[in-house]
Each structure stands twice: as structure tokens, then as C-alpha cells.
Symmetry: C2
Subunit: 491 residues, 2 copies
Amino acid sequence: MSEDETLDPEDWESVRRSFHDAVDLAIDHLRGIRDKPVWTPTPDSVKEKLRGALPRGGEPLERLVSSVAQDMLPYGNGNIHPRFFGWVHGAGNLAGALGEMLAGFMNSNLGGRDHVAIYVERQIIAWCKEIFSYPAESSGILTSGTSMGTVIALAAARQAQGGEELPRLGMAGVEKRLVGYASSEAHSSVAKAFDLLGFGREALRLVPVDETFRLSLPHLTQMIAADRAAGLDPAIVVASAGTVNTGAIDDVDAIAELCREQRLWLHVDGAFGGLAVLLPEFRPRLASIARADSVAFDFHKWLQVPYDAGCVLVKDEHAHRAAFTARRDYLAPAHRGLVGGDPWFCDYGPELSRGFRALKVWFTIKAHGIDKLSAIIARNCRQAQLLGEAVAASGDLELLAPVSLNVVCFRFAAAGLAAAELDRLNDEIVAELQLRGIAAPSTTRIHGRTAIRVALVNHRTRNEDLMLLVDAARRLGHESLAAWRAQGGSL
Amino acid sequence: MSEDETLDPEDWESVRRSFHDAVDLAIDHLRGIRDKPVWTPTPDSVKEKLRGALPRGGEPLERLVSSVAQDMLPYGNGNIHPRFFGWVHGAGNLAGALGEMLAGFMNSNLGGRDHVAIYVERQIIAWCKEIFSYPAESSGILTSGTSMGTVIALAAARQAQGGEELPRLGMAGVEKRLVGYASSEAHSSVAKAFDLLGFGREALRLVPVDETFRLSLPHLTQMIAADRAAGLDPAIVVASAGTVNTGAIDDVDAIAELCREQRLWLHVDGAFGGLAVLLPEFRPRLASIARADSVAFDFHKWLQVPYDAGCVLVKDEHAHRAAFTARRDYLAPAHRGLVGGDPWFCDYGPELSRGFRALKVWFTIKAHGIDKLSAIIARNCRQAQLLGEAVAASGDLELLAPVSLNVVCFRFAAAGLAAAELDRLNDEIVAELQLRGIAAPSTTRIHGRTAIRVALVNHRTRNEDLMLLVDAARRLGHESLAAWRAQGGSL
């Protein structure tokens, strides 16, 4: 390598062409997505091609672009397809992809310092405060998603609730025995956050839910009292604004009132459902997120920003910052030059290096506007009602949970089958829907029974896609049933 | 909005053109980067333009692309410029940006499930195991960077060292009082990880360094013995493979031996320096990373992958997985369909949603090959030596620390100035270098004195850039000195 050689190309025009080619094939792929299978298993031959020792020499960009076209685009996650209904996966959008591309070029590190990317992220956070009616002096930071947002929020909660000595002495060094509460339907990321922060799994009390899968307030009240009586220190409640299983929305307002009385930190997991606050029909149930001490949610779900992008807002800026500040000499701030830009984002989260994910959020919101993004959310909720009605009317499908937001849990039901057989039958239906590329719902368990679970967060989904799903689920159910019966009866 | 309207464009050709235009202007910006100022403060007018309420309506993509061209590209972080020497910032590369763009289109979620992106990330991790001679059965995961990698590694360490009951009862519920050790020169992310995990700041013992800024093994040995005598439970040592202040490399082999004897978990912070293991000249000092229980490092520094991208490897796959597994019903694995792909990455870190950052790493390594990437690392180390020699030969600059890797700490020295005056003079030089767009070193404190700190991790830096820096630092030092003296003597 010559002394002045860099990783920049000698032939800039050829690189430019590779970018243009990659843009073209990715756009063509997306444009034709409806006519492709939702999901195609990655062939063994592709897995084999990807394997290999660390490459010593380089390859031309155009060859790598061809590899992506041939070996990657056809075997994606499925969530850019209109009939992907699994888990809670956003479908992405082109403006966001353009933002991500430009972030790749700019190569900014948003841990801190004074550069324009910082101001873009701050603007996104200001918009989020506007959405959730959070005060201007609250703090916030973009994250990879709600899981990290919850970790950050609960670290701030611990800082605020753990007493002065906890940061120095740790969880084991103080008298307080902090415990927290979330419903039994809360997302697993809440338990993971408690684990990571060192609370221990037992410190997260799982509160029973009512018949609509919402946290039971009487149970919460009793559990707090019992823990206090046992000498523990109730400190945190996590409310779910849209549970992943059924889309249930906890009674945030009543929980906020209890937290105020009991001096507990209220964190809201609004991963996807929180953004329904944008809709008049859900605003009454979600406006009280403004009363919570913190809220975490995702841009990559219902706002269709490409993965990954989430946000956490914290009302107590001081606790938030104190939980994460640990600057050393080489990060000392100054008022002049690149080291300006205080406050630095690295003081509000665990990461010192942070990419410019704000740009894809900025592109998504600026290109589409929040009204159109909200209209997609509203349509998905209408689609969930419609699907719920179609299931109820179908005769051989049954709803397993009320449809409160955008999640529909149902199953194929057939008389005379044992519970375990029905579970296997529904697992089979979902696997076949996926393997045949027809649609991609996921499964979950509702009251101990396997459910076909459809989460609608996809701007490409049309009503006809739902009807196609209902028809296919019924057809596959009958097919499997007939095949099994032909093979001798028992499933 | 009509029932079938999506976020996809009506006019696909116009979006395609916006992408092409964005590619062209970003490539042109990068191509001419050497002739631009290293850094330009974001003007107030730009900050003002970025401000505004949450946009209700959308804007055409071409207008957003123009905003980026006008208001963002000129006010970037500076690290894509050949004379950015601050902190430890990689310079990025076009192949990586192309990978990032395609990841934006694919919109994959690598929390789990069975799709091609998972196999790409697994391949990157296999290459990392190859680089650090880690066994094939060790586990790993891509992260936003070493800060998160260290959090994950130390959570695995706690799982392995804390005893069976810690996950259930938490740090406060078990007898063990875990403590860890790192040198006083260790990166602040180590202290932040201890904080986050609930150890408490005092549980991280800062071990003094020797005259070359390496962790002092005699002190470490004594401190472990004293802690055991005091009834504490020494559990973890974090060694630095390249400190951020001076690039010092701890004696990993000797520390590994001590950890083996004492049954401590050894984690190596290899954020940038770890990758020097690729070079024959550093291999003897870094090969013992293979003896560590875990290692975290960054792709976005010395491998020039666009921000953000790092990795953590953990030898004890079981402890790693146990520290993070918490699946619920809706994430139950299955052998058929999309829910295959076990093991899922969400079981090896705190994140359930994870973008396809592996693709920009894949593009970077495949396009350039590890030999060329290693040659850049080697050249940066040669440049550090060269700069050290130029400083020593200059007469009015002095080295403040030995140059052991790629970091050069020096200052402008003038006879007859008090210590505080010299510090201010050197702060002034760095601020002026940045504000005039000449070069962007950062500052740090070495033995209590302000140092001009140059970290060479930039593939665009030429030797002439270093000479330009030396000349400019001297000139600015004399200028400031003269100006201050003209104003009446005292600084």
C-alpha cells in the first residue's frame, strides 16, 4: 500500500455507479414486494456462500451489490411485505432509508460534541415531548428501541428512588430493598431491564391482569402494601400502553394517581401503542402518559422508521443525567470549538459512541408528516376491528382476546379435539402460512392456549390482505385436520 | 388518505432520482473533503431552521435532500476529514455506507427469527473470533460499540461469578460482595457499566498505573488480597488494550495469569487498540486477549465502519446467554418457519429489536479485505511515531507520554509560564486549531497537565497532515503567547 493510499476509491465514478445500481435494485425489490412470498427460508446454498474465513483481499463493490441482490434481498425478515403480521415489526419506508444512507455517509458520532447531527436529534426529542405532552425541561435520548429505553428509564428511576448512597455503594450496599411492579402481560424487556440493573428477578412483581388483560389496580395496591409491610421499598411501576400479546392498554391515569400517592416512579412502556396517543379515539386512554415519570417507545414500529430506532423521555432530567454521567479528562467539555455542544448525549445513556439514527427519523417524519403517519396507525386499528369481526363471523375461527388496539389473537377451532391437539393444529397453520409465503402472523399463548397472533403495524397492509389471511387460515386448518384424520385419527 | 394509500411513493421514479441525487452530492462532498475545513461550527441560522413544531404535512424528498446538502453536510462531526485527530473517531468508508443504505432498505430486525441477516451477523462474529483466536463455541453479538459491549460482558461476568441465586435475588439479595478492577487510565465506559449493573462506583477499584500508563500488576495483586481479607469478593478485572488517553496496552498476559490463579473474570476493553492484534509488531502484546473471558471492541474506529458498530465476544456462552434470556410466550422458538433461527440474538444482549448493522461491517471487510484494513492500522501507528519524533525535535513542543500505539500527547511549552497558564495556552491552541478548521485534535490531562491529544485512526491522514499540525500548533502557540504578553503579561 502506498503512503497516500486510503479506503477511498481510485475510480469514484465506479463507486457512484455501484450506489446507483444498489438503489435501483433495492427500489425495484420494494416496488414489487406485494407479488413476492412474504418470507422465504434462506437456502442452505446461500448460508454456505456466506460462510468463509476472514477475507484477506477485497472484492469489487459491484460484486458485493450482486451478492445482496441474489443472496440477501429474497431472504429478508418479511416485514416489508404487506402480509407480515408477526410480533410487532414496522414495515420501513423509503424516506427513512434515504436518511439512513446519508447517515452512513456523514459518519457522525452523537456521543457528544458540537455538530449539526446533535441538533437534529434534539429536534426529534422535542417532537416526542410534543407528542406525549412532556415538559420542555424533561430529557430524552434516541435508543435502539424500547428495550434500551426501558433500561435507561429504570436506571434513572433507581437513581431517583435509591437514595444518595446507592450510586456509590451499589444495590448491595444500601438498606433499601427496591422492588417494582408490572403486569403479568408486560413485555419481557421489563424483566430483562430489572435483571440487567441488578434488581434481581424477584424484585419485579408481576401483577395479575383483569379479563381485558389490563393490570389489575386492586392487586397492585395490595401488593405494594404487602411489600411495605414486609420491609421492602416499592419504587417503580411499569405500565403497558399496548401489551404485545393482545394490545391491552393499562389504566395509565389510575396507575399514575396511585404512583403519586405512593411516591413511586411510573414508567410507561409505549413501544408501539404509545403512539396511538396521536389519535383522538385513543387519546383519552393514553393522554395520561404525560403524568408518567418516563416513557419509552419505538420509531421502527408504528412510525415505520427503518430498524433500529426508539426513544426514551424522562421528566427528571437531573436523575436521568446523574445515572449516566461519568466523564473523564479526555471528555472534558469546553465552551469553544468541537467540545462544545453541552449537554452531551453520552451523559444520558450507556453509550459513548452513538450513530446518527436521528436522521432516518427526521426523514420519515419530515417526508410524510405526522398526520399521514397517524392515519396509518388509525387504519391499522380499524383493520384490527375488521379482522376481529371476520374471525367472529367465520364459524371455524374464534377470537381469544378482545381487540383493543391493533392486535388480534384467534385460533382455528374444531369440535372434538383435545386442548393439546388444537394447539398443535394452530402452530401448524402458522408454520404453513409462513412456509408457503402466504402471510406471516406469529403465535402466542392466551389463557394457556395457542393463538394465531396478528399485529397490524404495516402501512402496506390492505383490507384484502386480512381476508386472504382469514381464508388461508381456515383452508389450512381444514387441510391439516383432514390429513391428520386420514392418517389415523389422533393428532 | 385512501384505503390503499401507503407510505410508498406514487411516483417511484422521482424517489429513485432523489436517492441518486443524494448519492451524488454525498460522494462529491466526500471526494472534496480534504480541501474543506476540518470542522465548521453549526451557524445559528441553521439551528434555527432545524427548529419547529412537529410537522403535520409532508415535504418532497428532493427538498429534504437539499436541506441535508445545505444545512447538514457542511457542519458534520469532522471525523471524515484527514486532519481529524480528536478522541478516537473512525473516518468511515464508502463500502460501509453502501451497506448501511441497503440495511435501511431491508429493514431487518435481528433480535431473532430465521432470515438471512442473522447469518451475516453470525459470519461477522466468526471473523471476530478468528481475529482474536477465540474458540468457535464462544458467543458474540454486535453492539453499538464497546460501551454496550462492556455492559454485556460484565453482565455475563456477574452471571458467572455471582452465584446461583444472584439472578433471582439481585445484587442486594446475596451474600457475595462483588468487586472489580481496572486501571486508573481505563475508559469511563467501564465505570459506567459498573454503575448500570448496580455494582456501585466503589465496587470498581481503580488500580494505579506504572510510568508507561499500564495497570500496575503488583498493585492489582495487593488490592485483590486486601479486598479478600476485608471479606469482599473479587470477581472481575478489566484490562485495557489501548487506553484512550495514551494508547497504553496493559500486560494482558500477566493479568490473565493472575485472573486464572485468582479465578477472576478477565474482560479486555479493546475498543480501538484490540485490533492491533492483526499486526505482527503488536501481536506479542495482544495475542493474550485470547486468554480473556470476554473482549469488546469497535468496528467504527480502526476498521472505519460507519457509526455505530462494535462487538463483544464471550467465552462462556452459557453465562452469556443466561444473563440475557427472558423469553415470553410471544417469543417462543419453533423448529419450522420464521420462528426458527435459534439461537436468537435477543438472548445475548438487552435488545429485542436490533437493526442490520452487520451489513455495513460485511461490506467494509469484504470490499477492502482485512489486509488493507490492517495496513491502515499499521500506517497510523507509524504516523504516531513520526509525529512523536517531530514533536520531540520541534524545540517548543514536548511529549507528555510515550507513544506506544497510535496516540500522541504533547503540549506547547514556553519558559517562564505557570502550570495553569500553560494549560490555558494549550487549550487555546486546540480551540483555535478547531475553530480555524485547520485540524481537530482533542485535549486531555496527563499527570495533571493539559495535553494536546492526537489519536490516529484515520485512513485519510497523510504524513503531510501531521507536519501541518505541528507547524500550526507551534505558530498558534507563539501567536497566543505574543498576544497575551502584549496585553500585559499575565495569562
